[in-house]
Symmetry: D2
Subunit: 333 residues, 4 copies
């Protein structure tokens, strides 16, 4: 039986906790979350875990692993503390909004054997996994280019935007990670441009709501990304991987499967507009991978280094947006 | 150069004439159509053919082939006359609304070497041809069953219904023919039921507007058909052929390829609602086959016997509707 | 807290039990299943329910409701016993393979106030529910006809076929129920034909593996059904409801959303081939409805009478297959 | 009757000639094409036009209009000559591979009243026209961004690449034109990058085979384009126009409408891989617009200025590729 502590009982913390609770050999024993909420109370009741503070958790020898799903600004300190324990840790992205901190945390872990897994759940989605496997198999020829579209169903509150690190660090980070995951190599340059076309208040808060990016990999493959804070039809999450002999599409998942037809044509369902529902299977597989890392020492699909490199691309994009020019990724440190 | 005479300059006659006019070795020289109309005049101008009467056409030694696209009640007399000339003839379906006449015409031809081709254009549609080829190849295993849906975009005028021979002889005849074309064997029994659910005036005229049929072939394959005088979204013309190891669908052809998406979902085009546009390619291929029959003696995909057997199935369906029981096709004579 | 007893810890019993176990106010306390199996043991462990026999369960005053998911031949005796307790009961279809028993059970319940709900989960599927709501709203005009296709991914073992009551009572019963659910009226006649085209051993066991049916409702709407024990591409579960002004399609649910494209065209996912996965949402909603019936007295979407009438249609179909003629449903008693 | 002269009897010249030949009031009287070919002879026979040289054509007072479909390097001299005649002229894109020449030709026309129409047939495609109308109506809100993908079925011969002006001037020019057509405003900046990932011989010839571009319009709308010389599944020609309240997709046109399904999933048709078939309707409408310009003086959808501006964008893209930075379009002269 593995005894786990959860930091953060918010939305994503709940998702992870529920997935862990279906596994007979995983037990949630402590939850650290300083803010009382019905969600926190419900999770405490269901899990029968104790409410505790971070320091007691890290000092408790009976806790075997940590799951960090608290607000972003707590990640770096919690990670630094966890690094010293030698116990397995899962951490949601991003590591920190300050890239210097990201690098520091990575260095802290590099001096230990502490195993860590990053929260890039999309790596565990069966559709994206299959594309990666096809690419790695080589049977469809080289990847010539990749196209990714991520559009949220609606813009977040401007308060969230302000603390989120902006479109690149908050939303596009999953797409940056996906490029490395699929290509199996590093990105060398990033060109980013954007505008505020959806929600003027986002512009007033100093961010963009629509970004267009072009990336180039070590081997010369090209990547085009669009990230936006809104799509009229809901959550848009698509990918095309153009290989020499075959093209792969990851399509949106429809919310339902009823079609109606009349004189105006055929009307079918828009996409599932809740990313937690869209990636339900991926979130389950991600926790199974966390268990496999804890119990069997099996390396996860998303490492700390993946977290660092995805953030490096986000930094490169932010710099490109500011300078109006492509940025050499290696120069971001 | 083959010199042709056309009987009937109505809608379908125009389609055939235009397709023939694109072939350098086919020349339309005479048109018989007693009713003046702008369409007839336009066709006379474009083709530079003469307006003539049936008798002169059949007596003209310089005419090489006949194309019959005149009203149904003229088919049998024109066919009988054509049978005696020995010259190739193309005739639109149905041969006659009176099955006795159908059999008589077939007997008349059987006593000659006159080549004749029936107007089942759907046999020349690339999608349906491909299904047939797949079935004949045997590579998908035996045909277990076939499902066909034919729904018109809107009910015809009741005057047309009255002279059309009814839903079975007029519309469903193409589907009856398709079952034999695809299965490559005869149908042994027909169960038909129906109702008047769309246009009450069709019921008052003694016909149904919605039919459901179940057929069985010699080898035991099953066929289900729906024929209706209306579909809310336009012309519906679909087929499923369920083979042991693979299923084939002939889908509707969309009118356009623009999709729009908003909060209500995705809206895409309904089908092309004009059967002449839907089967444009088939009509062209059909006239090419007529030319190949004339010039090279190549047997067409739709013979007189196919016309007789499709009508036999229509008669069986009409009888089944009347008696409320499956009808043994062999008993229809 | 509602305390439930489950009869039958097989596949469908497990599905219901797991759904109930996610509801804080429902508690599974006893399981009756005479056959030891890993699944039974696992369920006993997870639920912490006791293993018990039927008689003790019915005598236990602390049990509040019964869930019957045991083999079909036990349904009627368990139901008769449950009827006398006055406690709410859920029963999987069919009530009995012997229609006389079905009627008897219904009469037994009619003499009590015992609430009962039948296991027609498809009534709770969001797509089918939406079609029903559209039809009931009348905004798309009258239902002219309905088309249903149900094909299993692969034929069941012949041993199952022998005890299943045959294709009509076992598989098609859900479709029979759906016609009444959608049309909101009774079916008056059934014509059924069929053949053994998929699995010869099913024919040897006296059943068919492919059925085609045509039904007519009180108001004259028509229904066409195809039921088969196999489709080459997996589980096929589709419906078209043709209304005067709009047509509704319930499409298959794809197993994944990855599309690949190459010189041979586009390849996309076949349907989810596990009916429990296909109807996961419906099964959850069904247990919620069971809870609502127990706790709030809210009538379920599937009543005992629905169970009786669906089986009456199955009996009519079996008789039609035997006689080769349409059967008047009212004559089946 | 309008008497036309055609320059160039190659593939696209044939398309235009055939479309004109179906119009009773348009007559092709002269063809200038110095290279004998079966296609030229066939067109001379069908049209009964005379073979002539350019100078005689321009001197012939009986010729009413010119259609220029000859090799690109002849466009500018023919256009300059035509400008002086005052007679309507249609010219295929591009005007010249030398942008200085493009500007010169435009100046030559600006000093006359000679009407001229450019060969951007995609403006006449019903799907693209509909998107434009939707955008112009404003009913879907502002255009936030546009995505365009153009991929050829297979790379052209390297000899063609060398004389084509490269990917931007040859293929992407239609997409550059489409951005201005849809947005109804000018593009202010272009970032282009690319690589040679498909056909090494194209790289050796100094061109790229895959381009990625990001454009920005006067009002701040963003455009992303991918242009490639190959797609594994055939001709790829898609567009997404993301408006505030609705998204529009122009989908590929499938080559056929037969779907097959087996254990591996559903296989459907790839796109029509011949751009002349894909745009058959657009080419017809384009010639009708040419006739309307000649006969009624109706302005075409594609003017000379549209030709100039599309080429200015191609020049900007070429410069961006070279410099690795976004290019201010106004600086291209």
């Amino acid at each position: 039986m593995t005894r786990l502590a959860l930091f953060g009982a918010g939305r994503i913390g709940q998702v992870h906790a529920r997935n862990l609770m279906t596994m007979p050999d995983m037990k949630l024993v402590a939850i650290a979350d300083p803010v009382a909420s019905p969600a926190r109370e419900d999770l405490l009741t269901r899990s029968q875990a104790r409410l505790d503070d971070a320091e007691s958790i890290f000092s408790d020898p009976d806790i075997d692993a940590y799951l960090i799903a608290s607000p972003t600004d707590t990640h770096a300190p919690l990670l630094r503390r966890a690094a010293g324990t030698g116990k397995p840790v899962f951490c949601e992205k991003p590591i920190s909004l300050d890239f210097r901190q990201v690098v520091d945390v990575a260095e802290a872990f590099s001096r230990t054997d502490t195993r860590i897994m990053l929260g890039f759940q999309r790596r565990y989605d069966p559709d994206f996994m299959q594309v990666r496997e096809e690419i790695r198999s080589g049977r469809s020829g080289r990847v010539q280019h990749i196209v990714m579209h991520t559009r949220d169903p609606s813009p977040p509150p401007v308060s969230y935007v302000k603390s989120s690190g902006g479109l690149f660090r908050d939303q596009a980070i999953h797409d940056f990670d996906m490029t490395r995951y699929l290509l199996g190599e590093e990105i060398t340059s990033v060109f980013a441009t954007g505008n505020c076309l959806i929600a003027p208040e986002i512009g007033e808060a100093g961010d963009i709501d629509t970004a267009m990016m072009t990336l180039r990999s070590e081997s010369g493959s090209l990547v085009q990304m669009i990230n936006a804070r809104h799509a009229a039809f809901g959550y848009d999450q698509r990918l095309e991987a153009v290989c020499a002999e075959r093209v792969f599409y990851v399509a949106n998942h429809p919310a339902h499967h009823l079609v109606s037809a009349d004189a105006r044509g055929f009307t079918s369902s828009g996409p599932i507009s809740d990313f937690i529902a869209r990636f339900a299977q991926a979130y389950r597989a991600e926790m199974e991978a966390f268990r496999d890392m804890i119990v069997q020492g099996r390396p996860p699909l998303a490492t700390l280094r993946d977290g660092v490199e995805a953030q490096r691309l986000a930094e490169a994009a932010a710099l490109s947006l500011k300078t109006g020019r492509p940025v050499d990724v290696a120069s971001v440190r």
